[in-house]
């Protein structure tokens, strides 16, 4: 996995560093699921559309994606957690995973 160094005036706080780590893992999972390069995955922005925007992300693929997120982050995603908003954009998915990690 490659990523550009982030220029910062001061060291990142723990929270920021953790957020960056989560972002990297989540993008790698999407690269693996969508069959795109790590570079393309790194270019995903919070506004990048997912479910409903990418035809290959059907319910079976989303099920696989959620299972992989559970495995790699060691979290449990309940059916009731899953809604259109969390899956619609990369930012929505990232916010969901961060909230799950914070709740653990």
């Amino acid at each position: 996995m490659s990523s550009k160094p982030i220029a910062r005036g001061k060291p990142a706080s723990d929270g920021e560093a953790r957020g960056h780590h989560t972002d990297m893992i989540l993008k790698q999972i999407l690269a693996d699921v969508l069959g795109i390069s790590s570079e393309d995955a790194m270019a995903l922005t919070p506004e990048s559309g997912l479910f409903g925007h990418l035809p290959e992300l059907d319910s079976m693929a989303v099920a696989g994606l959620l299972t992989e997120i559970e495995d790699r982050f060691d979290i449990v995603i309940e059916d009731d957690d899953v809604d259109g908003e969390m899956l619609e954009t990369y930012g929505g998915l990232m916010a969901f995973v961060e909230a799950k990690l914070a709740a653990d």
């Binding site: 693996d32 699921v33 069959g35 319910s59 079976m60 693929a61 099920a63 696989g64 299972t67």
Partner: protein, 237 residues
């Protein structure tokens, strides 16, 4: 590559007296010493890993190793109904096919480990427990039903499926198959060496939203198997 058939129940297995239709067997068969029967991945993953699996067979062929992949009854070109199949029956089927091909080894892919006959030596690639296989299918079914506005939970779906079977993401599974998947384990006593995907490298192709392929991954797995046979002193001819 050779297309032939195998016949379920030909090796006496006591599963009913009805003669069963022939099933497809795709092989690389040059009558060589090492002959590997492939137990393919199941359901959605069978499609996603088909090209990978055939790639492994081609790479084994290059390395002087025969292999064959069976159509399980109820899958691919089979005339049998999927909802009538069980894991236990598939294990018997894989035994039949292996015996008819004259297999010396078994290679299972992902959930193929759940029905791979344990008697022959071999390998289990990226094996997964039945519960995990089932969980992904239940989740996909719940997601698609919710999209259609139907409230459904995995628990409810499973409870109903245990009684009457269930249609999960287009795969019609019997109550017996569901019960078997709930408890089937990837690590069961066998002569099979577990090959984790991390030994192959790259992302597992079953993760892909759409079927993909990786010549490098196929070649790596075939190479590991060839080395393993060499180490066991089974020189290729």
């Amino acid at each position: 590559m050779k297309l032939s058939t195998w016949q379920p129940g030909k090796r006496s297995n006591g599963r009913g007296a009805q003669p069963k239709a022939e099933e497809l067997l795709l092989s690389f068969d040059c009558g060589r010493q090492s002959r590997i029967m492939i137990c393919p991945a199941l359901f959605d993953e069978a499609n996603k890993l088909r090209r990978f699996t055939l790639g492994v067979m081609r790479e084994l062929d290059v390395r002087g190793i025969d292999s064959a992949i069976l159509d399980l009854p109820g899958t691919n070109e089979s005339l049998a109904l999927l909802e009538e199949q069980t894991l236990a029956a598939w294990r018997e089927d894989a035994r039949d096919a292996a015996a008819q091909f004259g297999a010396t080894h078994i290679l299972s892919i992902r959930a193929g480990a759940l029905y791979a006959p344990p008697e022959l030596p071999g390998w289990r690639y990226a094996a997964l427990d039945g519960a995990k296989q089932l969980s992904a299918m239940l989740r996909a079914q719940v997601l698609s039903q919710r999209e259609a506005g139907k409230a459904l939970t995995r628990e409810k779906l499973l409870e109903e499926g245990r009684k009457n079977g269930a249609m999960l993401s287009g795969w019609s599974l019997s109550a017996t198959m569901l019960a078997e998947l709930e408890t089937a384990r990837a690590h069961t006593p066998s002569q099979h060496r577990m090959i984790e995907h991390s030994e192959i490298g790259g992302a597992g192709l079953w993760l892909r939203a759409e079927p993909g392929e990786s010549g490098a991954q196929s070649a790596t797995l075939a190479s590991m198997i060839a080395h393993s046979l060499e180490d066991a002193g089974e020189a290729q001819t």
